[in-house]
Amino acid sequence: MSVDIIMSSQEDLHSTRLSFDEAPWYITDLYATGSDKVAKLGPAISKLKNMIIGSNRQKSQALRQGMLPQVLNLLGDVSLPSSIRQDACISLGSLVKGTPDNVQTVVSANSIPKLIAVLESADEKLISYSLSCLTTIFSHEFAPTEALFATPGLIPHLLVLMNESIGNQASVATILSNSCKTREQQETLCQQDVVIHLAPLLCLSSLKVQMPAVNCLTALAHKNERVSNIIATTRYKDTLISDLLLCLIGRDGPIKLQLNVARCIAYLHRSNALSSTDPKVVMKALPCLVRLCGKEHDQQIRITAAETLAYLIEVDKELQGIAAISNHLIPTLADYLKTPTVVYKPLNKSFSVNMIQAAFWAFASLGANDENIRKRIIETDNLMDRVVAGLDDSNEMVALAAVRCLHSLSRSVHQLRTTFKDHSVWKPLMKLLQHGNQEILNVASSTVCNLILEFSPAKEHMLNEGAVEKFCKLTQHSDSRLRINGIWALMNVAFQADEIVKTQILKSLREIGTDQVFRLLSDSEVMVVMKTLGLLRNLLSAPHIDHIMDLYGTEIMQATILTLEGDHGPDVKEQALCMLANIADGSTAKELIMMNEDVLKKITNYLLHANPKLQVAAVLCISNLAWKEEDGSAERQSKLREMQVPKILHQLITTSDQALFDRVKTALNQFAPN
């Protein structure tokens, strides 16, 4: 083909060499010195400019031919005629419209300070070319935004320049919107009055100026309470900036602008600058975002709308409720998960992935609090299948979104029961428990905790997948959330489990370390202690009490004493006493308590504790120990009488606390003759 023949002869021009390639006249002339310097420079820089505009290959080639250092010199040489400096600036601006590599090369050559220096000149055209160039540079993620803050007085100067022309307004607003990446940067820009300077831009009728202004305010507001508050309360010519924003969200305006304004309002709300009942949030931003999820819009719009909506309603039950009944949102989001049946051009793989992710995030937020909404989501055709498939996705972000979604829905665990008739959800979920990503680990383990309680048939299946070992491993994690989830999961697994499962749990904990249980009981996180005690309680439920105490009695008694003696709140002590009550319920296990003077004394002391809950638990212990229908009750009762227990019980019978009264009555009954 004719094209191939021509293109193949380009090969030698593509070879990369370390030294500069042989340069054409217009580049060598840039280095001209002497009396005819200016006469040569003019045509040279003009020719260079015309060569590189429009063609990435020419840009790369010119860089290889060594034009950059000299162009920068020309830019900064105030003795030269302005047309030459302008062409130099235009050339730089053209270079950075090339490949990201081109941009990197330009940045690495220290161009940014030189471009900033030019902003001080009196040449308006030169300034606007420089601003354009900087705008392009800073639109790249890797651009060093610190450079803007490093030059003292630059930000105020940019704001002054902004007022001079529409082009400047667009450039400066765009540069600033790309420079609010860190909290520090947000604060600095806010301090320098950027917010009030952006306000007039919102009122102009040019999209080129409104968009960057909105984007800048959005970037400033992002997760920053202080700045968000300032934005929400600042007035421009007697109108609140947030009201000015509202003028731009109208349906007759460009879609992208509506979306960006809605996003700004969402960020202001989440940073607590606008309340969830504020009409701007609930009557404008929310419906706008819901609407933009519709099929008629571009994929990228739909993705951003869904993600922003998910963020907006993430923590507010009211907003979730409103969103769920808006505009058929749930079926619309379900549509995100469908792979297109007709492909007009090659599927943009990255977009497809993001559609799925965005939908999962939105569902996760929608279903966070309300049972009915969760029901509707779960009942949507095909949705749970896609969620489970998402857990297995090789793309980490999709897996995270899927497990978050599942986590929200898992709060309606009994509803999920019919959906997960087979065990399809467990395999991928178990796999996630070994994931390297901590966030995924956290959400997956929380989800398992929710699911595991209800799905008793699945417990055995999970044991085969090594679930118990995985949970035990989590209890060692440095992240406290993961320790909590690990021990909570074990607690739920142990609930009404059979003996095999229970012994497996204890065995696995021991395998981690013989004192793992003790370590957990002394954990700095109270929740870990509570759930560990909860685990032990569940382990010690009939009919396994005796057997478990046979195997692990010493450890468990030690653990209980440790907890009762430790510096814990009443909730923890109550748990420990309930455990003792369970032990006291066993036949042979009772003796472990009876033999232990120390424990008996402690129980007795708790009978008279100020906190009635602890009293109830203690009385239950006594009740179980004294239970007259058990063998050996006579000896046990006699021991208890020695310790004045019945006497104390009689004292307690006068209590006004109903629960305590009932228990005491039962206990006293044990001591009464038949």
Partner: protein
């Protein structure tokens, strides 16, 4: 009910949409709508300015008192560049563009390709085959690399080189003078888009599109109404 447009037919009070409207009643309604002359003048001025008819715009300003809305002198540059293209002087045009709006061609690569392509066509038209080959090699090949959408157009253009009489070849349409106009239009649109203008289409063209769209929607719903069948003359046909 008769649909012949006879005004004396008695129409039921529920003038259901499905029964159609008579053309006479339709025209009556149209006539009763008042549109101030100044609005029409603004539309005309907008058209002249958008399409770059500077002299006409100046004259119209004098005759009708309508403000052009922009400084007509700024049209000069644009007009000069477009005229350059109409004359086939592409490289001169590109240099002017790069002085007038240096970012335009970097931001509109497809347009840039069309300009390069047009230059190649001019070289071929002048039977300047050596220069044509050199230009294609040095400048056009990488355009195809960067943007695969243009490959097909590139191939067609290069194929011209194979013919002794390119005008009569299957790709001869590229050599038509109207092709220059096509490029000029594309460039004009890009200018207007970059210029912070509200729209790169004149309001008049926009109105016509709106009429066509509205009629299409009515057709979809199988509504019968007097249709405008000729845009240029605004001829409205009987209700069918």
């Amino acid at each position: 009910m008769s649909n012949s447009g006879n005004g004396t037919t008695s129409e039921s009070r529920h003038n259901s949409v499905r029964e159609g409207h008579s053309k006479e009643k339709w025209m009556e309604k149209i006539d009763s709508v008042q549109i101030p002359r100044s609005e029409v003048n603004k539309l005309i001025m907008n058209y002249l300015v958008t399409e770059g008819f500077k002299d006409a715009a100046e004259k119209f300003q004098v005759e009708s008192g309508t403000e052009p809305g922009i400084d007509l002198k700024t049209l000069d540059q644009r007009i000069r560049i477009l005229e350059s293209i109409q004359c086939g002087e592409i490289q001169e045009a590109v240099e002017m563009i790069n002085s007038y709006q240096p970012e335009l061609l970097d931001d509109n690569r497809y347009l840039f390709f069309h300009l390069q392509q047009q230059h190649l066509i001019e070289l071929i038209r002048n039977r300047n085959i050596d220069d044509a080959l050199k230009f294609a090699q040095e400048n056009l090949a990488d355009q195809g690399e960067e943007n695969s959408a243009v490959l097909e157009e590139l191939e067609r253009t290069l194929a011209l080189l194979a013919f002794e009489e390119p005008e009569t070849s299957p790709f001869g349409d590229l050599l038509a003078v109207s092709h220059r106009q096509k490029v000029a239009s594309e460039l004009n649109t890009a200018f207007l888009g970059a210029d912070n203008s509200e729209s790169s289409v004149s309001k008049l063209a926009y109105l016509l599109k709106f009429i066509l769209w509205a009629q299409e929607e009515l057709d979809k719903k199988k509504v019968r109404y007097p249709k405008m069948t000729d845009m240029a003359t605004a001829f409205i046909d009987d209700s069918k």
